[in-house]
Amino acid sequence: MTPRVGVITFPGSLDDKDAARAVRIAGADSVALWHADADLHSVDAVVLPGGFSYGDYLRCGAIAKFAPVMEKLVDAANGGLPILGICNGFQVLTESHLLPGALTRNDHLHFICRDQKLRIENNTSAWTSDFNVGDEILIPLKNGEGGYVADEKTLDELEGEGRVIARYLEINPNGSRRDIAGITNSRGNVVGIMPHPEHAVETLTGPTTDGLGFFSSLLKSLVNDGKVSA
């Protein structure tokens, strides 16, 4: 059976169609999930896409946390459902306390859109298992509030447990502590990443196809977990 990956649309989500396209290119079926519908429709995994949920007039992701679908998502996350939060999705995951830390205003105070080099630091999470540690990838980054911060103890824990999944290379584009671009929870099923793998899935529209690795990783881990057949 083809895996079914849900993509949640909040009011103000912008990269939801892009995330769905990436899911399809990777070989899964995309399922549109709606913020006001407290039902995950039995999907095998969920992507929280980029954008400005509810306008992000408060802290980014702070309102999305209260969406009806999120209660189900938090339960599912704690039950091991693979979840990828990209950009605003990452912000929603930290606001929902599924991931530690917070994303703050870029240190240079400007929105920035650039092709960003990353180094993969973890290949055991549900969304990075198809990479090798040390792989260097190039995918778009675009954010105004992408500076990852956490207290020193949390940062040490993330490092110690191998939960930093990717780090910025060459340029730290937003002032993230320890060049952190993405992290995972201790179980490895919930991943948040600030750059946009879904914008690097076709040579025509992205700088590379390096972003596909996140989605092929998911498919691989679903097979390994016996959730879907190979």
């Binding site: 009011p11 912008l14 990269d15 914008h199």
Partner: protein, 755 residues
């Protein structure tokens, strides 16, 4: 607070009214009295005053703009022409594209962030009101002297506003222009272009049809922002303790606009709408009068039903408010519930404010009192038309006579190299990535090309690869030297930029930015530019689908350079065949298509090095321009090119430097026989492009050029063993420019000035 009713207007015919304060001339006021057969009520006066403003009525430009309707080329791709919110063009496979550019110049100078932000909001609503999904935006911008401290205030605010609004809206920003010239010091230009796509059957028009149908206002609530001149009227009618002057610059909410896009497309695709209109300038006055005028001719509005952000607004203010993110739809009674359900899904407030009827009148009541009773056409379409005097100013002779011939040119290899390095870093030629990296170019996942490429290109159909390319251009210095030719050169450059990427130019939009129409010299520039553009569009077969006029870009007696910004839309059958600007492989041949003449008047070199503007702009042969485009499009389709790039500001020096910086691979060039190094590098002759041809395509490419009798000159080849541009034949020597050094110079200018 007493409301000025229609019955009051009848019973007190001689009451004096503040028409002059509202910007109406005495004869215009008298003509309103003639239309109504009585004095207007204060609400009617307010409606006429904004709808008959230059901005809404095109009263000074109309007589000239008619040329776009009379000089129409044979082109069967037009589905909707001038006069609607935006023109619609057939691009094949059942797809249609709508695109339009508009100005938001004056608000952006007063309040750069909100001015630029709401400029995007307005043009996006024009596009969705045609039934199209917006798929990209572009921003042609003009600023004053980059070293003037006020330029920093204006530029950083405008760029933040475009990014803040556009990024939050989820539309890729794929191009535009950033040009500096002291003539824009007190009048920066903020033009915004939006492109939308739809299937043919989804086209919608602004018409209030169907007697008994409901008029629904939906989106943001109506507030006191953007009322402008009406504050004068308000101060006449309000008690002393009422609200004071309202801000005249609107405030944008991109989140609401995003909801409005999704909500509008859902009601349109659900077949729930008979007619639709966005609310922009002149707000409810404009939307109701235009809908009624285009439809059955009658409408009744209950103004007190309008949802307000501020309960103290007077009826006049509600009619005039330019609060953003609002739309007006005409809906059959049986479909109102379904319409409202979609609005509720998207958390968009909506209310029925009126009803279509066959009275032939637009009537408005507020709390049971009749306050407006007018023929809608007289408000929306039959405004005043002026034949303003125009005359070629005497100073044009002086300007055209003082050409660049006597300007000191570099006279040694070392000077040529130094000039090249200097030119690479001028604010006009330097990399704009400090600005464009603040815009999201990736969202929606269909961006094939974005700045700094020659045109922005968007994939329309993922299955077939059908796409569109758009470019906007204008060298206003050429227009200052000769507005007729300048407008044609702007069209030619935009046309070329689309063709360079492999797309076939199809249609034109424009944003005509000029000084005061009350100055005969400015009016002459305008008349010349419009005529030049209309003549060229007729000859090149690209119809004008719509556009915008912005007058009064003038501080005191000093007008901006005439700036007819021209947008060209092209279609490409398969975006995989697009031609990028970066060369790729070792040994590829580098050619110049077209003829390089000694043409430096109005050039970036004359401007940047000598602060000189005089002479005659480059000659332009429209037929040659069309042939060049045919070669570029055919070459892209046949795979003759690995790269191509237009030659314009900064000449071949800038073109090749940009290609080298984009690719990072070196090139060996040779000044061709018959040209001196300076002319070869910095002439801005029109109708040229640099193309890069893989060796195995060389013969086929040359055969194509020969069959079209088009001049082509080989200037060198790509050399991946070097990281520099090596140019031989420079006063008998070879100069070498390291790509890394060029890149540092190019990229440091804008951050140094504005970072």
């Amino acid at each position: 607070m007493s409301v000025d009713k229609v019955s009051d207007a009848i019973s007190s015919p001689d009451e004096s009214q503040p028409f002059a304060e509202l910007g109406l001339k005495k004869d215009e006021y008298e003509s309103i009295r003639g239309i109504l057969g009585r004095r207007p009520t204060s609400s009617e006066l307010a409606m006429y005053s904004v709808m008959w403003s230059e901005h809404c009525s095109y009263k000074s430009s109309k007589v000239h703009l008619r040329q776009f309707g009379t000089k129409v080329p044979k082109n069967n791709s037009m589905l909707v022409g001038i006069g609607e919110n935006a023109g619609v063009v057939d691009i094949g496979q059942g797809w249609a594209v709508t695109f339009k550019v508009e100005s938001h110049n004056h608000p952006s100078y007063v309040e750069p962030y909100q001015g630029a932000a709401t400029g995007i909001g307005g043009i996006v609503r024009d596009i969705i009101s045609m039934g199209a999904r917006p798929v990209a935006v572009m921003d042609p911008l003009r600023f004053g002297d980059p070293e003037n401290p006020d330029t920093r205030r204006v530029l950083t605010g405008i760029v933040s506003g475009i990014g803040g609004y556009g990024n939050c809206l989820g539309l890729p920003n794929i191009g535009g222009e950033i040009v500096f010239d002291p003539s824009y010091q007190g009048n920066p230009l903020v033009n915004a272009l939006c492109v939308g796509t739809m299937k043919h059957e989804d086209i919608h028009l602004a018409k209030a049809t169907g007697i008994g149908n409901a008029v629904i206002l939906y989106g943001a609530r109506t507030g006191g922002d953007g009322i402008g001149g009406v504050s004068v009227l308000a101060s006449e009618t309000f008690d002393a303790d009422g609200p004071a002057k309202r801000p005249s610059v609107q405030v944008g909410d991109p989140f609401m606009e995003k909801l409005l896009i999704e909500c509008t497309l859902e009601v349109l695709h659900g077949g729930l709408v008979e007619g639709i209109q966005d609310l922009g300038g002149a707000g409810i006055s404009c939307a109701t009068s235009e809908l009624a005028s285009n439809g059955e001719g009658g409408m009744h509005v209950w103004l007190d039903r309008v949802l307000l952000r501020d309960s103290t607004l007077s009826p006049e203010e509600i009619l005039m408010s330019e609060s953003q993110e609002r739309m007006c739809a005409v809906v059959e009674p049986a479909k109102i519930d379904a319409f409202m359900a979609v609005c509720k899904k998207w958390d968009v407030e909506a209310v029925v404010i009126g009803e279509v009827n066959n009275s032939g009148r637009l009537t408005v009541e507020s709390h049971g009192e009749q306050i407006v009773d007018v023929p809608p056409r007289s408000v929306a379409h039959d405004g005043p038309v002026y034949e303003r005097p125009y005359a070629r100013p005497d100073w044009m002779d002086v300007r055209q006579a003082s050409g660049p011939e006597n300007l000191v040119r570099p006279s040694s290899a070392a000077q040529v190299k130094q000039t090249w390095l200097t030119m690479t870093g001028t604010p006009n030629l330097a990399s704009k990535s400090w600005v464009t990296s603040q815009y999201d170019r990736y969202v929606m996942g269909n961006t094939i090309l974005a700045q700094p490429e020659d045109s922005g290109m968007i994939r329309v159909d993922e299955k077939t690869g059908l796409g569109v390319a758009v470019s906007t251009d204008c060298n206003a210095r050429f227009a200052a030297l000769d507005p007729y030719k300048g407008a044609q050169l702007a069209l030619a450059e935009s046309y070329r930029n689309v063709a360079v990427t492999g797309a076939k130019p199809l249609a034109v939009t424009n944003c005509l930015n000029f000084g005061s129409p009350e100055d005969p010299a400015v009016m002459w520039q305008f008349e010349q530019a419009v005529t030049g553009l209309a003549d060229a569009c007729l000859e090149m077969g690209t119809p004008v689908t719509g556009g915008n006029v912005s007058f009064y870009n003038q501080t005191g007696e000093v007008a901006i350079h005439p700036t007819p910004v021209i947008g060209v839309l092209g279609v490409i059958q398969n975006v995989e065949r697009r031609t990028p600007m970066a060369w790729g492989l070792d040994g590829e041949f580098v050619y110049v298509l077209g003829t390089t003449r000694d043409e430096l008047a109005g050039s970036e070199w004359a401007h940047a090095i000598h602060n000189h503007l005089g002479g005659l702009p480059p000659v332009l042969d429209l037929n040659a321009e069309m042939t060049l485009a045919e070669i570029l499009v055919a070459g892209s389709r046949e795979g003759f090119f690995s790269a191509a790039h237009d030659v314009s500001e900064g000449g071949i020096a800038q073109t090749t430097a940009e290609m080298a910086m984009r690719s990072g691979i070196g090139v060996r060039l040779d000044v061709p026989a018959g040209l001196d190094a300076f002319t070869f590098l910095w002439s801005e002759s029109a109708t040229r492009a640099v193309v890069v041809v893989p060796q195995n395509q060389n013969d086929a490419f040359l055969t194509l050029c020969q069959s079209k009798s088009f001049p082509v000159t080989k200037i060198g080849s790509v050399d991946s063993s070097i990281k520099s541009i090596e140019l031989t034949g420079v006063f008998g020597e070879t100069i070498s420019l390291a790509i890394d050094e060029l890149r540092v110079i190019s990229e440091e200018t804008l951050p140094r000035l504005f970072g």
